[in-house]
Subunit: 411 residues, 2 copies
């Protein structure tokens, strides 16, 4: 437990979530309380802000304003999608990061993001070890995709799942209002893992959700899809479908990138999204009235539907990262260990950055039904605790009151 004095940097990286700023709040507020942390710096646009020496002095922010961070979706400090080179091939960025760390006497580095960001965090950690610069480096998980390895789930996922389930339930009500036929296809994010699309299954479980759900974990078969939809449509006059944006054929090619048609012979460029084009294929096949809906950015930035558990856990992840680093730990990512037997208990734990970087966690095949077009109860039991709780959101004029940071650059 050696005391290490110096500044800390927090960086936010990758796509937005409803609660990434809750982790930032947990991190910043905990760091500001530590005697050994001399300055709390927020990097503008993640590692790009470190490279460019664009670091905000978080100690100069109004404390009451920092309390609003957790209610503000997306990354308040700015984010990036920047991949660091292999340091053995090109160490330019690493030498610059080291120079900035030295300039500000940075001894703690916290990086909040998903798979790619944990890779960045891991590379920086290993580089600093190699060059012998004493610095404690911790990853804080974040991703709506929920595909990080070694943790029960990721902060950000629960809120996105809640948005998706709630919106599916409401769209179900809308799509069932007329006594005329209707097929609705909803496209949900998730390029490689089906956690988000699977969350539409919560709506089905509640009685108002998709009849069919297709995840990337099962190879997509267009003929089977059209047969599935047609069967339900013929029986009930309605069919609601949720698909993951990442559904792909057996050869691995994405359905969204190929030509979609129920009949052959189409040859033109299709600008529409996956939902619109699958809906069109259903229309060609069945003659049904169809509608394609893409939840788009809304599902990842819907702070007004944030899950209370998710928000609290995101804050906790930030807090634990600082406490662990101050206590002497480095080169780890904060993760969660959960117990769902007889209630829901979520405890933080730490795992090695090397273990987590670049590994993707997918929905277990046995949580998907045999036909590959719906979810089993095990999936519902897994997700349900993660969407619980409604935070009391601060509002102004009955609209969200987002955090307003001064963003004063550190000298």
């Amino acid at each position: 437990m050696s005391e290490l004095r110096g500044a800390c940097i927090l960086g936010q990286s990758g796509g937005p979530t409803a609660v990434i700023n809750a982790s930032a709040q947990g991190l910043i507020q905990t760091a500001l309380k530590q005697d050994c942390i001399t300055k709390v710096l927020g990097a503008a646009h993640g590692i790009k802000g470190v490279l460019a020496d664009q670091l905000y002095d978080m100690g100069q922010e109004d404390p009451a304003e920092l309390d609003l961070l957790k209610f503000t979706p997306s990354s308040a400090l700015g984010s990036c999608r920047y991949k660091l080179a292999d340091p053995d091939k090109d160490d330019t960025d690493y030498r610059q990061i080291l120079a900035i760390f030295q300039k500000h006497d940075v001894r703690y580095f916290f990086y909040n993001g998903g798979n790619d960001s944990m890779d960045t965090c891991n590379k920086i950690s290993k580089y600093m070890q190699k060059v012998g610069y004493e610095c404690r480096i911790m990853g804080v998980p974040k991703t709506i995709d929920n595909d990080l390895f070694g943790t029960d789930h990721c902060p950000g996922f629960g809120s996105a799942a809640k948005y998706i389930a709630t919106s599916c339930m409401e769209v179900w009500q809308d799509a069932h209002v007329y006594d005329t036929g209707m097929v609705t296809v909803i496209e949900i994010m998730g390029r490689h893992a089906g956690w988000l699309a699977g969350s539409a299954g919560l709506a089905s479980w509640m009685g108002y959700g998709p009849d069919l759900i297709y995840l990337p974990e099962v190879n997509f078969d267009m003929d089977q899809f059209l047969a599935d939809v047609t069967a339900i449509y013929k029986q009930t006059g309605k069919c609601m479908v949720a698909v993951s944006e990442g559904i792909h054929y057996t050869d691995g090619s994405f359905v969204s990138e190929g030509e979609i048609s129920a009949t052959d012979g189409f040859g033109h460029v299709q600008l529409g999204g996956l939902a619109v084009r699958l809906a069109e294929a259903v229309k060609q096949k069945t003659g049904a009235k169809v509608r394609g809906i893409e939840f788009s950015l809304l599902q990842r930035c819907g702070g007004h539907l944030a899950s209370g558990n998710d928000m609290a856990e995101a804050y906790l992840a930030g807090q634990v990262a600082v406490e662990a680093a101050v206590s002497g730990i480095t080169d780890r990512m904060v993760a969660f260990e959960c117990d769902r037997a007889g209630g829901y208990l979520c405890k933080p734990k730490l795992i090695g950055l090397t273990e987590v970087a670049n590994v993707e966690k997918k929905v277990p095949r046995q949580w998907i039904n045999e036909a590959g077009n719906g979810l089993e109860q095990a999936f519902i039991d897994y997700v349900l605790p993660l969407i619980q709780g409604e935070p009391e959101l601060p509002r102004k004029h009955s609209l969200p009151r987002f955090v307003q940071l001064k963003k004063i650059l550190a000298k």
Copy 2:
């Protein structure tokens, strides 16, 4: 004030809103308390349910369940888009409606809907007068489009406006997270009137909203649009645009139905929606990264973001319709008269069905800026009171708890 004893029918018609069931609740609960109303019947799918004698006996519903109506978006009884013929040309439907009224001794008829529905309501009212069947007929306004004549605003609009403003604010946060260029185009409902797209201006007014907003009230000019977007994009690296689905060229043709291209020579069918296609045109012109987002059905069924004022006023409209009819009034629609000077006061009033049927109310030109790409403060002052208040929503498993009706058919 002649007392008229008999049954009443409530029908819901047209597209869903977040609060149409609040009007149904106000109507049903008030009607159930009237001594002169012998039975409260809910028509399945509006006038189609009357024609088919599909009438639910609302008195057999659990009163506690009826309390959940107002928190359930879309039409709980089912809706329709059914246009009655001119009775002078074909009175088949009218004779059937009269027969059903006689069968159930219906003396009160309440029809809840928008423009087309008020036309239906008006035609039935005039027919019953003509044939001398004593029946009090009242329209109850409903439309997210807010285009009904003779009323300050329509129930349903405030909640949709709140959904749109909130979602725009959240998307703004998301669209500004990277330091790389980005143009976002959002498509909002409203075929002929720009009230909904204009509501995106609330987000801009809050500091997190579209830079440009285009309504159908101003003729659309593609060159000017591309110039507007390019200027802002070049200056700030970002541009967020909201467009009404009903924007049209000077010749009246809808932008959504034509070919959209920044350069000439495209010739293929474009399946994508308006937002995607306008975004693509911007990409061709500027090379910017673009994203098209369609709020789609979500904006009209987003009960979880319902406005408290809207919900209360929708309930009131139903209640007033029954009270007025019981007191001897007929052939009217419930409307609102509002005072925004020194607070917000909304009072119900009644206007003639003939006056309101088939007349569309548009956004006044002086509430739109001179360039035709943004809103003036007068528009904000008009909309702001309509989105106020957050109802305490009933939930189960942190998801919406919708009403569950038994729907027992009347004998």
